[in-house]
């Protein structure tokens, strides 16, 4: 091969001013993220996210009702079990509002993981038939789940009104905590979606993993019941910070410390960047293995 290729290359040299728009070569090891290319496909990202939202609201008969009902019922059950029966503390807030604020963020996190984690398998036909930056597929889930989050936040607003809780200036930091949730969720789901293509049994492990993770996070209870000396270790779980951060900014009080926010931000960034590079590394083989 080498001999003929060299002859061809030497014999027909293109004029130097013209450079190929695409060079296709085998890649091995770690590839660059190529964010510029992802940017040129930004419309695709939004249209894919829009597709997910439309399908979600078209296919389910209950539509928006479902998005409202599911977290409300979950919060109600947690309130009865943990608030009434187990009499767990809720940092001085009505238990239902306290739990619901946790459920809202957790649901967003879990929805991203679930949808993005399976997204490459769901869109396998696209991957085998057309080229575009593969990152667009899991990223679209991150955006589409935001719609459900917005609806749930509206419900939370109504609940707070009913219980007469007024938000303070801290609500201004809500976007930061939602951003932190989104970055963490994206990072984890980049790992999950790529692993899911390689190892199909990940799909079975995911619901189980999410369940364990939820109970290891302060969704239905307050971080204050965790003994002080375990707190730092506990807050290695990024979900602790973004759930408590959410409560802090919406309800005003919570057992959150600045160190936790810094720690989680670092963890989230590491997971996110690592996930993006891992995804890029394995994406070359997606079309051959889905």
């Amino acid at each position: 091969m080498t001999a003929s290729a060299t002859v061809a290359a030497a014999g027909r040299q293109p004029d130097p001013g013209r450079r190929p728009s695409v060079v296709i070569q085998p890649t091995s090891g770690w590839a660059a993220l190529n964010l510029r290319e992802l940017w040129t496909y930004r419309d695709l990202l939004l249209i894919l996210a829009g597709r997910d939202v439309k399908l979600r609201y078209k296919q389910t008969g209950l539509g928006v009702t479902w998005v409202i009902l599911q977290p409300l019922v979950a919060a109600l059950i947690f309130t009865i079990m943990f608030g009434r029966f187990a009499k767990l503390p809720s940092d001085g807030h009505p238990y239902i509002v306290f739990v619901f604020s946790g459920v809202v963020v957790w649901n967003y996190f879990a929805a991203v993981l679930q949808r993005a984690g399976n997204s490459l398998i769901t869109d396998a036909r696209l991957i085998t038939k057309v080229y575009f930056p593969r990152l667009a597929i899991p990223l679209a889930s991150v955006f589409s789940a935001l719609v459900d989050l917005a609806v749930a936040l509206g419900v939370l607003g109504v609940l707070m009104l009913v219980y007469g809780i007024m938000p303070t200036w801290r609500i201004l930091l809500l976007p930061f905590f939602i951003g932190l949730t989104a970055v963490t969720a994206t990072g984890v789901s980049l790992w999950l979606s790529a692993l899911n293509v390689r190892y199909r049994d990940f799909a079975h492990a995911m619901p189980f993993m999410l369940q364990v993770w939820m109970f290891a996070s302060p969704v239905a209870y307050a971080t204050s019941i965790v003994p002080e000396r375990w707190r730092l270790l506990y807050s290695l779980n990024p979900a602790v910070t973004f759930i408590e951060g959410m409560r802090w900014s919406v309800l005003g009080t919570s057992s959150i410390e600045p160190a936790m926010v810094v720690l989680t931000s670092i963890v989230a960034l590491v997971v996110f960047i690592g996930g993006a590079f891992f995804f890029r590394r394995v994406e070359q083989g997606f079309a051959d293995s889905v």
Binding site: P20, Y199, R200, A287
Partner: protein, 445 residues
Amino acid sequence: MSETAIRVEGLAKCYRIARALGKQPYRTLQEDVIALPRNLWKRALGRSDTMETFWALEDVSFEVTQGEVVGIIGRNGAGKSTLLKILSRITNPTRGRADIYGRVGALLEVGTGFHQELTGRENIFLSGAILGMRKSEIARQFDAIVDFAEVEQFIDTPAKRYSSGMYMRLAFAVAAHLEPEILLVDEVLAVGDAAFQKKCLGKMEDVAVDGRTVFFVSHNTQAVRQLCGRGILLEHGRVVADGPTDSTLTVYNQRLREMRVDAETGVNNPENRRGSGAIRFTGVSVEDLGGAERYTFAMGDTIRLRLSFTVHAPMRGAAVVVALRSGMSREIVTSVRHVVTERELAPGVSSTVVIDLPNVYIRPGEYPLYLHLGEAIQSPKNYDVLDDMTPPLVITAGGRALHDNFDQTKPLGVFSIPSRMTIGEASGQQETEAPVAPQRPHIVR
């Protein structure tokens, strides 16, 4: 104007195939964890992996200049689709390099990204974005797309309520308005009716006339001949002929006739040779009644197939299916099935059967053969398939005036049936030689 559009140098692609036949192509974590110590042990001992490799492309080099329309020809598994997948960046090559000058539009199937639940309008934007168009671009082309697809009044109807024809037209319309400088097309003509195929071909001709580069992969040699000025023939992942379409097609047909089918032919090609290996064809020959091997027959001739096979694992009887594919669309046009025996067959048994197809009244054209060998009671695993592994049957008109009611260039339909025309009132019984009164209604039976 003779600037390079695509330059391919020593392109090769290797696939890993599962050790045992019928195994899943993907791994499970459980499996990998269990296999880890064993693999480490093996690596320590210096033994190679048990994974088999299959080179879909071995060493492909060529150069395409701007405005050229190139057809890629070759049987199933020759590497055509792999080449296209690499050029459209869906998969990566194992070795070699390809330089592409200009914006690429790849059309590997019709309706990529379409979703049944979404409306025509939503699908246009979705599919357009997936194919690489900006939203503003799609918006600008929107009316032209709807116009081409002729679906104006259904544009806000979910695609699931579309007829298959409408669906196909809309899907192709989006792709046709992509306006790439280099268009890669795979087998899209294999779907849809004749009118749709014509429309697609016409659109591709327009693209070519505009001076853009077209790279066309097809089984449909007729379409390749009509559209492409240059043909590249691939065989076993290598270029075996590259030149004017007609001369490449001549080489292709020559190669097909030289091909012998035996137990090993194409076994590594899961596309055309499937099955468990419990039973294998060991020989296939197509002959006339005189016993001479040939693949060209006149309409009305008797075609004789001599099929040999060997049993390698216990079989619950045996049955053969002979099917003819359409050379145009590749769908199966007709098939016959014969049970050889219903008795249990032990490994080692060999036999030869002869199947005659008398009076084959199919229209002139090329008909690839699909041969299937299975158990007497149809079972999903013990079988062998030779799909397009033999030269295609070529049917010619012969001297039969009664059936020459067709236009050679437009293969409308597959079967040739006797017909008669009467001119005038339907009750009139007289037959005429020629239409003498063209203004009056006539009935064709």
